[in-house]
Symmetry: C2
Subunit: 247 residues, 2 copies
């Protein structure tokens, strides 16, 4: 790593890439933003496959002097690698091995467990409105059945788990220790963008019986704290300006 | 870490925990195996929630002299932590930072991307056979529609990506470098257990049009290589003996 290294973030609207922008802003990295917009079917555009064969976002490139550019994919991996190699002033780094272990856990848990249930619920929701292979009513009946049997209980279990983790800490402002870490960065998308900032979606995804603010007071306090962090505010401003509209 | 540290693996049949057993066997760790069996609805039993609030497997405990036991969850995180701290003779460790970066990528990719599509497809498949909220025919119609629109193309894209990664290497026996690493360990469950060792499930999950051996020759060669590794053979023998039947 070197202080002359430059970054490119391939950013897709309404995607997991939002927090990588926040990561770059937090660490003050020298980055360029390439913006992609979803198709009307809410999918990533084909151009992203030219960057990485899986065609997803976030993908980042690290441009290094005298070395091949490094292409990194998978949100948890990107956060882990960038913090390890480019957080030179310990803005996000933890101070004990125990805290580092816990951040690593959240980097895996968020994408491998929590986000999977949200994607499955979201796919079912999109299927209900697009349904080209049948009627919306039937699709709704079946996806609601599958969701209530499997994905919704799993999502709620994960949210209760996160709530309990914050509740047992002396501060509910951050997930690990008393400071911002990669754990807060990775959890910001599913908790804030997918749920707290989108009450209509949260209600549909959770089956309509959950009141996030009432049922998850610690997650709510954490959300309120993140939303007012200067780096997070600036991240949203950058995107509002680039896209010409609120997310 | 210390050579006197002991491990407990909470192992669930037909689950992601199988490869953690393989990890422990590969590293020659001093471990105890606690076996859990799925309910008739193919869910994890409630007892697992006493071990970890999310009630999933794998979960491991590391019993350390003079310290609190350490509870670890999430497959990618467990592999990363155990290799980093307990692979004292470099059986799985990589030799360059580039290889380490690539293993870390696969630890995230496998659970955050590949496994998510497989779980969604599997849930749809179970819903078709259990369907208490409607008829199997309707559930099959709708889940088939959703699967063919979203989850199957994503699964195939991931498999093609893995195939291309092996194809460009000088050996298709391992995913990173010329030796066994955590990447092979984590990929063994989705690729071998879920797909190559279960042609009927593979055919259903992929929509019936895929012939794994014909379409993915490098993944097939890698599978054949892993299946004959002594540590992998021994892992399967241990489970066959404990469960009294083939997996």
């Amino acid at each position: 790593m070197s202080s002359t290294d430059k970054f490119i973030l391939h950013w897709l609207d309404q995607s997991r890439s939002h927090r990588i922008l926040w990561l770059f802003e937090t660490l003050g990295l020298n980055y360029e933003l390439k913006i992609y917009k979803r198709t009307k079917e809410f999918r990533a555009p084909k151009e992203l496959e030219k960057v990485h064969p899986l065609g997803k976002s976030p993908v980042i490139e690290i441009i290094r002097e005298g070395k091949e550019p490094l292409l990194l994919a998978e949100t948890g991996h990107i956060i882990q690698y960038v913090v390890e190699n480019y957080d030179t002033t310990n803005i996000l780094k933890t101070s004990t091995p125990e805290e580092k272990e816990l951040v690593d856990y959240y980097l895996h848990f968020t994408e491998a467990s929590l986000q999977g249930f949200l994607v499955a619920l979201l796919v079912g929701q999109i299927a209900q409105t697009k349904a080209p292979w049948g009627t919306g009513f039937l699709v709704k009946l079946v996806t609601s059945g599958i969701n209530s049997q499997y994905f919704q209980p799993e999502l709620l279990k994960s949210l209760k788990f996160l709530e309990s983790q914050l509740a047992k800490k002396s501060t509910n402002q951050y997930f690990v220790g008393n400071k911002l870490t990669g754990a807060d960065v990775i959890l910001s998308f599913p908790i804030i963008d997918n749920l707290f900032s989108n009450p209509a979606r949260a209600s549909t995804l959770s089956g309509g019986e959950v009141n996030l603010v009432r049922d998850f007071p610690n997650l709510h306090a954490w959300t309120e704290n993140v939303l007012k962090l200067p780096s997070y505010v600036k991240t949203n401003e950058i995107i509002d300006k680039k896209l010409g509209s609120k997310l």
